[in-house]
């Protein structure tokens, strides 16, 4: 039951309170670039959610079995090679290179897989899939999951990692869809000439960020509600 409470806290935190775009500023490029129409913005959000889930799952697996201090796989290889079994092996310095490699290759594989088996979906994602490699939101989610790397007891389990990834992706989708809705209306407004384009989009994002600050504390209330329900 405590697990459920923690998972809800992570999901709400990632999706609303600490929204990836409006609180951590990751994924700003698609947020400004692909938010002209609601349907494309929603497609981009779905693509990001999809990739971030897969990348987080893969990266969690690699971190848990290979990269973290005293991980099983390198220790086994070291012993097979005749090394001293007491030596502690820590490959976590390689984590950034590993993460970006995993993200880049999983985007490639997802693209190939989707093109082969879901041609319809592929058409609707269009150019966004390859663009996602350089989307900071994916790498940020992976880093956020692995930030307890130095402390083996604090490393998140796979359920927590998946919750954060899906929650973050949903938060990104919410933010970019809302933004696209506002920008569609903005086309009809009389915006001062120099602010047109990215300027007014950023100011709108600022006001949205203020609105999202209002979610602070929501997680506490929801947690209490779950506790009450389960009692």
């Amino acid at each position: 039951m405590e697990t459920l409470v923690i998972l809800v806290q992570i999901a709400i935190g990632a999706a609303l309170i600490n929204n990836f775009v409006l609180h951590y500023f990751v994924g700003i490029c698609p947020f400004l670039g692909v938010s002209r129409r609601v349907d494309t913005a929603f497609g981009m959000g779905c693509a990001v959610t999809f990739v971030v889930t897969i990348a987080a799952l893969l990266n969690w697996t690699f971190t848990y079995f290979i990269l973290r201090p005293s991980a099983p796989l390198p220790a086994w290889v070291w012993e097979m090679a005749g090394g001293d079994p007491q030596t502690e092996i820590d490959l976590s310095v390689l984590s950034y290179i590993m993460y970006i490699f995993v993200i880049a290759s999983s985007v490639q594989f997802v693209e190939m897989y989707v093109r082969k088996f879901f041609p319809h979906l592929y058409k609707s994602f269009g150019v966004y899939l390859p663009l996602i490699t350089t989307n900071c939101a994916i790498l940020f989610a992976c880093l956020e999951i692995m930030k307890h790397l130095d402390d083996p007891t604090g490393l998140w389990g796979v359920h927590e990692a998946l919750t954060l990834a899906v929650g973050g992706g949903v938060g990104f989708t919410i933010a970019i869809s809302l933004m696209a809705g506002i920008r569609e209306e903005l086309d009809l407004c009389d915006v001062p000439e120099p602010l047109k384009g990215p300027g007014i989009a950023l100011i709108v994002a600022g006001i949205m960020a203020m609105a999202f600050m209002g979610f602070a504390g929501v997680d506490q209330g929801i947690q209490n509600a779950i506790r009450l329900l389960l009692q």
Binding site: H23, F25, Y96, I97, C136, I200, L202, I203, A205
Partner: protein
């Protein structure tokens, strides 16, 4: 682009204002917004980015003959990730507080579009000298942008600049400026201002002609 590639001096000057990575090209928005709550972290970020940008530019320029077109983006990212690891370990060793404060934004330099775009546009095609000039120019432009945003936010938000008090004691600190919304508002207004100045200068040039 013109048929001839720009020279080192052109690359250097372009990076600072005419092709400023933040104000003109709208690249590298994530650190621009995230670490500019005060001038000091912004400058640390600019220095780390400069190190990675220049090193990656030199490295890519040296191996540009070996690059395969379909694998080049992967090579760029892995090169950048290596240098980011070096910068991150360096910060953690010598500036621990700052490294904690910058948090995930140091590793996020890997996906900073400024660096990848420079590798793609300049250093994968030109000599090492040009690549260095381009890296230094772009880094200066990026530092300038980060510095200007951080200056506005720190002075309005906490009444200090680089930690030194500049506003009178009675200044009501605009708390919103150091929070996330302030970053969006400041950058939006500064972009508008940059655009406005650009237009004025273009008009003047037209009248003088």
């Amino acid at each position: 682009m013109a048929s001839q590639d720009p020279t080192a001096v052109e690359r250097f000057i372009n990076g600072i204002l005419p092709e400023n990575p933040v104000y003109r090209q709208l690249l590298g928005m994530c650190p621009t917004l995230a670490v500019t709550g005060a001038v000091k972290p912004a400058m640390t970020m600019a220095a780390a980015t400069a190190f990675v940008l220049i090193s990656a530019n030199v490295m890519i320029s040296l191996i540009r003959g070996l690059l395969k077109p379909h694998l080049r983006i992967l090579v760029f990212t892995l090169t950048i990730a290596t240098f980011v690891t070096i910068a991150d370990r360096f910060l953690a060793a010598y500036m621990y507080q700052m490294s904690k404060q910058l948090g995930p934004y140091v590793p996020l330099i890997i996906v900073n579009c400024v660096i990848i775009s420079r590798c793609e546009i300049c250093s994968s095609k030109q000599r090492v000298g040009v690549a260095i000039a381009d890296g230094v120019g772009m880094s200066l432009g990026f530092a300038l942008a980060l510095g200007s945003i951080a200056t506005v936010r720190e002075i309005l938000g906490s009444g200090t600049w680089f930690g030194l008090p500049v506003m009178p004691e009675s200044w009501p600190k605009w708390g919103i400026m150091v929070l996330p919304p302030g970053a969006f508002l400041t950058l939006g207004l500064l972009l508008g201002a940059a655009e406005w100045i650009g237009r004025k200068r273009a008009e003047k040039a037209k009248q003088n002609r």
